[in-house]
């Protein structure tokens, strides 16, 4: 006989596993600090790449004036300005990453808890069915 409650729970579990559960399952393997730290390292590389692309694009945009610019430039001032901007850019992204991934970890942990409690419920329903209809597959 079909157990509608079990089917309903199993459908939710399957939908979760195939959707957001994929990412939250990965989150569940880490402690909060490890997860957020790892993501912040990834974002550090991404923000560095983004800064380099921005730099290349701004050089390309001013390419026609580049010769004059290089001739008149105060290299020390330029380097310190560039470094300051890079640091600010990276710090902004690190802060954003910390907020985003902390929130995602919190949500992921909650969803994982809910997932496991539903899994336990399904298990109990199976056991109950097994007691009621022994040997029935």
């Amino acid at each position: 006989m079909l157990n509608t409650e079990r089917i309903r729970l199993m459908t939710r579990l399957a939908a979760y596993e195939q959707g957001e559960g994929k990412e939250y399952g990965r989150i569940g393997r880490y402690y909060r600090h490890d997860y957020v730290g790892l993501q912040m390292i990834k974002v550090f590389f991404c923000s560095t790449a983004a800064f380099l692309i921005l730099l290349v694009l701004s050089v390309l945009y001013q390419m026609e004036d580049l010769e004059r610019f290089l001739y008149q430039m105060d290299y020390e001032k330029f380097a310190s300005g560039l470094l300051t901007r890079y640091i600010l850019f990276v710090v902004f992204y690190q802060a954003a990453a910390w907020i985003v991934y902390s929130l995602r970890y919190r949500k992921g942990s909650k969803e994982q808890k809910l997932y496991h409690s539903r899994l336990k419920k399904v298990e109990k329903l199976y056991e109950r069915e097994e007691r009621q209809f022994p040997g029935d597959d």
Binding site: V43, C46, S47, A49, Y61, Q62, M63, E64, A97, V100
Partner: protein
């Protein structure tokens, strides 16, 4: 109103029953609209411009997540631009990588926002996007709209200067890059429109989350009012008075779509609002519960005119029910 509610119930039932087909169909339509738009506006690679290619690629996207349509669309753009000019293609690739590193790494899963923004910009009705995103998504999804707008204005700049960009002249190579980047960096229309749309999307989001009566209606009204005022002011300041009618029509369409979304997603009966207060060991709870407007489902009654006479339980039915031999019942 009852008719509308009935229609909503029917549509919701239809969606619930056929969502297995509706979602892929939506992905197909989104991908096809994007690919046809790309082919129509920058179709420099003749082989790729064939509508059959767009249809086949959109069919492939039907079975993939919406992000795949965004990636395929980006590849199509790059191939078309490569056919026009290598420099423009390289700049576009850098822009796309920049968007990926700056935004999509942190907030993946906003493919619809990125794809529909350029499509709606093409039809001169981008005003719809802030209402839709503000009502249905998280606030950071507005950045997907900005990415879509940057891409649209970049391609518009390429299209406007295609004669200059297609010349294969070594001397003009540098001025090509400046020209194509200027369609973004020096484009005041892009700044004004992006600022107006982002601000109104955030307004819609913030207001619809408030615990006030008719929050969604207020959000739609205020968000679109702000959007209209900012865009009209921008048009006057930039001397683009030909856009005024489009802005008004776009805002009207946004209001209609917003009200439609409210009807389907957030239709509440404020007359039956309940306020309850309770506590547990750690907190006091002040809860406001507003019931949804729902129609009672009509139960189907089958009236039998010629009722069949019940002749009792037959041996046959007993035998079928208990799965035993009919002979056992003879005793």
């Amino acid at each position: 109103m009852t008719k509308l509610l009935e229609m909503r119930e029917v549509l919701q039932g239809f969606y619930g029953k056929y969502d297995l087909y509706i979602r892929p169909a939506l992905r197909f339509v989104t991908a096809l609209a994007a690919f046809l738009l790309i082919n129509g506006s920058i179709g420099y690679m003749v082989r790729l411009k064939n509508p059959v290619v767009a249809i086949v690629l959109a069919a492939v996207c039907t079975f993939l997540p919406i992000g795949a349509a965004a990636v395929l669309g980006a590849l199509m753009i790059l191939v078309h631009l490569y056919a026009l000019s290598l420099e423009v293609c390289a700049v576009c690739l850098l822009l796309m990588l920049l968007m990926f590193f700056m935004y999509y790494k942190l907030a993946p899963g906003n493919g619809y926002g990125t794809i529909w923004t350029p499509v709606l910009c093409h039809f001169q009705i981008p005003e719809i996007m802030p209402t839709v995103l503000g009502l249905s998504k998280e606030p950071y999804s507005v950045l997907s709209m900005v990415c879509g707008m940057i891409l649209y204005y970049f391609l518009k700049g390429v299209r406007a200067n295609e004669a200059l960009l297609s010349v294969t002249d070594e001397e003009n190579r540098l001025s090509k890059l400046t020209l194509v980047l200027n369609s973004i960096v020096g484009n005041q229309e892009l700044y004004v429109t992006a600022a107006a749309l982002v601000l109104s999307a955030l307004l819609v989001y913030v207001i619809r989350r408030q615990s006030v009566k008719h929050a969604w209606s207020i959000a739609i009204g205020v968000g679109n009012g702000c959007n209209l005022a900012l865009l009209l002011a921008g048009s006057f300041l930039l001397g683009k008075s030909e856009r005024i009618l489009g802005i008004i029509l776009g805002t009207a369409a946004a209001v209609l779509i917003g009200l439609g979304m409210e009807f389907f997603l957030f239709h509440l009966d404020y007359t039956r609002t309940e306020r309850v207060q309770f506590e547990d060991d750690e907190y006091y709870y002040y809860v406001k519960a507003v019931p949804k407007v729902l129609l009672p489902t009509k139960k189907k009654r089958v009236k039998q005119i010629n009722k069949r006479k019940n002749s009792g339980i037959s041996k046959k039915s007993l035998q079928e029910e208990f799965e035993i031999d009919e002979d056992l019942l003879d005793d």
